[in-house]
Symmetry: C2
Subunit: 434 residues, 2 copies
Amino acid sequence: MDELMSKTLRVAIAGLGTVGAETVRLLTKRRTIISSHAGRPVALVAVSANSKSKDRGLDLNGIDWADDPLALAMRDDVDVVCELIGGSDGVAKNVVEAAIASGKSVVTANKAMLAHYGTELASKAENCGVILAYEAAVAAGIPIIRAVRDGLVANELSRVYGIFNGTSNYILTAMHESGRDFNEVLAEAQELGYTEGDPTCDIDGIDAGYKLSLLSALAFGHTVDFKAVDIEGIRSISAIDIAYAEKFGYRIKLLGFAEKTNDGIRQRVHPCMVAKDTLIAKVEGVFNAIIVDGESVGATLHYGRGAGAGPTASAVISDIIEIALGRGTPVFGLPVDKLFVSQKARQELMRCRYYLRVGVIDRPGVLTHVRNIMSNQDVSMDLFIHNDYNQRERMLLVFIIHEAEEKLLRKAITEIVNLNDDQKVTVMIRIVDL
Amino acid sequence: MDELMSKTLRVAIAGLGTVGAETVRLLTKRRTIISSHAGRPVALVAVSANSKSKDRGLDLNGIDWADDPLALAMRDDVDVVCELIGGSDGVAKNVVEAAIASGKSVVTANKAMLAHYGTELASKAENCGVILAYEAAVAAGIPIIRAVRDGLVANELSRVYGIFNGTSNYILTAMHESGRDFNEVLAEAQELGYTEGDPTCDIDGIDAGYKLSLLSALAFGHTVDFKAVDIEGIRSISAIDIAYAEKFGYRIKLLGFAEKTNDGIRQRVHPCMVAKDTLIAKVEGVFNAIIVDGESVGATLHYGRGAGAGPTASAVISDIIEIALGRGTPVFGLPVDKLFVSQKARQELMRCRYYLRVGVIDRPGVLTHVRNIMSNQDVSMDLFIHNDYNQRERMLLVFIIHEAEEKLLRKAITEIVNLNDDQKVTVMIRIVDL
């Protein structure tokens, strides 16, 4: 231990995008204090990225450049490799595997890779006796991995949920504040740089699903199972839904939930209506907030910036320091052979209240039809007819459905939709009591 | 390392109050999963408390009983001593020192002891090569020590602030919700068991000050300096102040702040008015919330139950598991010889806005007097005269003071108070923009 603590920890960074560059900047600027906290010198020795000539505003003097990130990952003079390339497989995964195989610890911010290959990589890290750290992969600067893995470890956790994607929360917040519609606000978010290139991953809930799958594994001790996450995004939410939510006392948020049920582990990401006086409803803009329900501790909430160069680099460096200190733990809190394979709880068995908006053709008897469909499925509801709908032949119906099993509601929705040939939009939003 | 990980970690608990008893219960009930996370068996081997015969509802079968906690702390067959006795010195401190001196790691929830002797004890732990862990001492179940020490370690922190005392937050919340006055609500809190015996420590801000002094040391890297904390409690807050806060768009909260200033480190606990749409304003009842402002990460907020047997035992056990894993760090994040001795920033140099309520004798010219006093100190303000004051000879004046240095305001207050011989209550509440 004492011998270890006098040796310099030699760091390599693969990928110099915004996060990689900020990590370089922080490691340089705060080198002295980082080394003090690490108990030994921490030095950046090598970097790798696509283009050496690109001006990133970095002083890379004295730091080796590698064109090939794989070669970087296997260098003899490196102790820790930070994989900040991104992408669920390809180069990023190759770099991580090569580093692990050559006995180096790895720090990564790559939620997509871990969501798909987390258990496999954890196993490799374990077999090679190295640390695989990923605080930056979930909610960036919020130290939620440490909170769940270390701080709340004494608890039997029942549920982890929250706002895992800042872009979609920004869009929903802006829609709420301005009354504007989804597409307009999305365009604004893209202009402001809150979405990078293709916004699909953010607004369709996939990014949130990646993070949720990692926290679920950590919270409940199962192997990572991204495919088991039921995911819906926010594309279908319109200004009219935001206005109705307000009217009923709710805010619409894109939430992810990982929860223990009698039917297995349920992982889901979807828009929710939550009472507007809850803390989670007050989380606005690009912020993330994650709530962990533990048996002994009750609810704890962890809030902050879930993306961006600074917050993500902050998390990467916290992991580097833990590695310097030799403070390893199993990747998902338990050795891989103690992780269980989770059974996927069926979303259709979930019970809650629902907000439902459907358009129907305004024909005699249609309301009676709709009411009959609902009551045949034992679904009770309050009905609001939205009169200022601009197509005269159609009616917009807004329902608040009393607590019901999702299976029954889905049947009712299908039947209602079948009343119309030209039915385009049906929006169902779960009302969640938190 | 491998040899270490196959050995049972032998735990002793000194003190079987609500927290000690709950820790025993959790260690027993969740022994298997705790050992899995710890990577080796964790076993409770001995306990000590005042009365062996008292029924605590615990099964202590097979666990040694020690009448003398000092003897417990020095047993050869113990690796970790949990000090859950309480009190800033006396037995608690003796137990901790004895355990450290005999080479055992220590877990404590004792904020008073650490606030007074934290640096000294850290030094002793360091010299003896043992871990001194205290996640439970600050905000109980919220893993805020880990967040600041490990998760946010890459950041230069500028400020840590928040609600550190659940009892006083409960009282302020209940006053807000019911319009009742302080004493009535305090009596209710005592009935509900939210205060233990003497409520002084909670409502006078001392408990919050203890916790703040520990987080300040950790956040900024200085030696613990509880005496440098300026502390005001909530006894003087009345229903009328709560009502005015509401009218002006604020909530009154007892906040603690540790912040870097050009003048040194400022540590303070006092009632504040905060805008009612801030997250901190929404933290109700017995909950705690702590916000950490970091250079890279921005603001992160950490929320949960800051007291109670379950949350505190949860934190104690998280520390035991870290000790089992051999995951030590310096007690305040840096070796004691790297902690600096902080200079106390002068509260009187602080600038903010203020709410001020004073009673004056209703004499001709008194308002002109008051206005002159304020303008002589260059203090500008808005004045509200509270007319339904029930003593006819006196007027209640409520001011919103524009941004001013606290020194000037204090001079003005003294002069105003001198206008009246019988002036009893002057309430000054800082308005804090967060």
